[in-house]
């Protein structure tokens, strides 16, 4: 009976975590950058680069994982009759919050999913990001308890729900049929990529299982703090455990604070970047991965959020806001991190999230 209860409650979410972790390991083995088998922020940034929305030559590639996730979620939603075209929950605010979630994530160098994957590779610089993410989520919870809400979404015509999946199909068509229109990195993280079919298959699998299980990095921690429910958090832990075990088996585990792949040692800014991402994710009702899943289920507000994140990625690289990884040049270890522009952007991000939080509290008559 106890076993059955455990399996019923945690089985699917743990399976989702294992699938995501295994997909990240496979993608890394197949060519994606180390500790970046999956990263929603990095991949959306690479897509922005591939489309010429920013000019950072090292991070330009139309990652098929992102269309795969959206289309996998849509497929699952259709199969289980959960595709519902909805919209109307403060799309403009969601666009802006999504933009700053992306800037925060790129200051840290990874979304919440990559944060877990980095931890699973032994990257101790990600601990500062984890602590920041927790702090951001707690800040978001304070406003949830005060009644923060972006309002409900309403049913809309089916076509609205297909908007982002259609865009994703278009991106895939560009990659496969007209690659000459896109930009491709010849060096750096953007040049490291698995064969497109492997990437697409991994994205489809992750999108499908994440839709079924409701896997969400931010939601897991929100539920744990707010109602002491650890179901979604189990998925988060399953990803970490799977990636850790996989890296240990494949000899890719390196427990260290230095020389980590695509990571920097400015811990304060890792903390603050992920605090911004965590707070924003709570306001949006889900992490960047979850936004892709919701968009695949027909949620137009999540689609707008994803577009906000892609815009945020373009801004981050056009204005030099994103973090730079630590590197070794001529045998000398060079600490990367965030420049003044990135620091100012994070501070502005906190001000914007505070404004959005305060402006969406209930009035006295509603409280």
């Amino acid at each position: 009976m106890r076993e059955n209860t455990f399996v019923r409650r945690y089985g699917l979410i743990i399976l989702a975590g294992v699938v995501v972790g295994a997909a990240a390991l496979i993608l890394t083995a197949a060519g994606n950058p180390k500790n970046m088998g999956f990263c929603i922020a990095c991949f959306e940034r690479d897509i922005a680069g591939a489309l010429g929305l920013h000019g950072a030559g090292k991070v330009q590639y139309l990652r098929p994982e992102i269309p795969g996730i959206v289309l996998g979620a849509m497929l699952s939603a259709f199969v289980f009759r959960e595709f519902k075209a909805r919209a109307g929950s403060c799309p403009a605010s969601r666009f802006v919050v999504g933009l700053f979630v992306m800037i925060g994530a790129l200051v840290f160098l990874g979304c919440p999913l990559r944060m877990v994957i980095r931890l699973g590779g032994g990257d101790l610089t990600a601990v500062a990001g984890l602590l920041g993410f927790l702090a951001g989520i707690l800040a978001g919870i304070v406003f949830l308890k005060k009644g923060f809400s972006l309002g409900r979404a309403y049913p809309v015509k089916m076509g609205e729900g297909f908007a982002l999946p259609a865009v994703m199909l278009g991106l895939l068509a560009l990659l496969l049929l007209a690659p000459g229109l896109l930009k491709f990195s010849e060096e750096g993280p953007g040049s490291m990529r698995a064969f497109w079919l492997i990437s697409l298959a991994a994205g489809l699998a992750v999108g499908f299982i994440a839709q079924r299980s409701r896997l969400c990095m931010a939601g897991g921690l929100r539920d744990a703090f707010l109602i002491q429910d650890f179901t979604l958090l189990a998925g988060f832990l399953a990803i970490w455990a799977t990636v850790t075990v996989g890296n240990l088996i494949m000899g890719n585990y390196s427990l260290s604070m230095t020389s980590q792949p695509i990571a920097h040692s400015q811990h304060l800014w890792s903390f603050l970047g992920m605090a911004l991402a965590g707070w924003g994710s709570i306001l949006l009702g889900g992490c960047p991965l979850r936004q892709l899943i919701l968009a695949g289920e027909g949620n137009g507000d999540a689609a707008v959020t994803v577009l906000g994140m892609v815009t945020g990625a373009a801004i981050a690289h056009n204005f030099g806001l994103a973090g730079n990884a630590d590197s070794a040049v001529d045998g000398v270890y060079k600490v990367g991190g965030v420049g003044s522009a990135g620091m100012i952007a994070v501070v502005i991000g906190f001000a914007v999230l505070l404004a959005v939080s305060l402006l969406h509290l209930p009035g006295k008559e509603e409280a």
Partner: protein, 78 residues
């Protein structure tokens, strides 16, 4: 270990709605607690209010009077 039993599960359109329901029920001494909305109810990952099934009519009435918009009332064995 907690035994399973029939519960009235109220889902909401927003997290704020669920938390407003909690505040109302606490204030009026109505039994229940916030839970993660069951997967069988929706693919959304929000919160729901779990109460004894006999409170369903009371909850429907009170939520309507104070303007808390519920997405649905469900009877589930949890």
């Amino acid at each position: 270990m907690r035994s399973r039993g029939l519960r009235c599960i109220v889902s909401f359109y927003t997290t704020a709605g669920a938390m407003a329901a909690e505040r109302l029920c606490r204030r009026e001494g109505l039994e229940g607690k916030l839970i993660s909305v069951p997967r069988s109810v929706t693919s959304d990952c929000g919160l729901a209010w779990s109460a004894p099934p006999e409170l369903r009519e009371t909850l429907e009435r009170r939520f309507r009077v104070v303007g808390i918009e519920a997405a649905g009332f469900h009877e589930l064995t949890l």
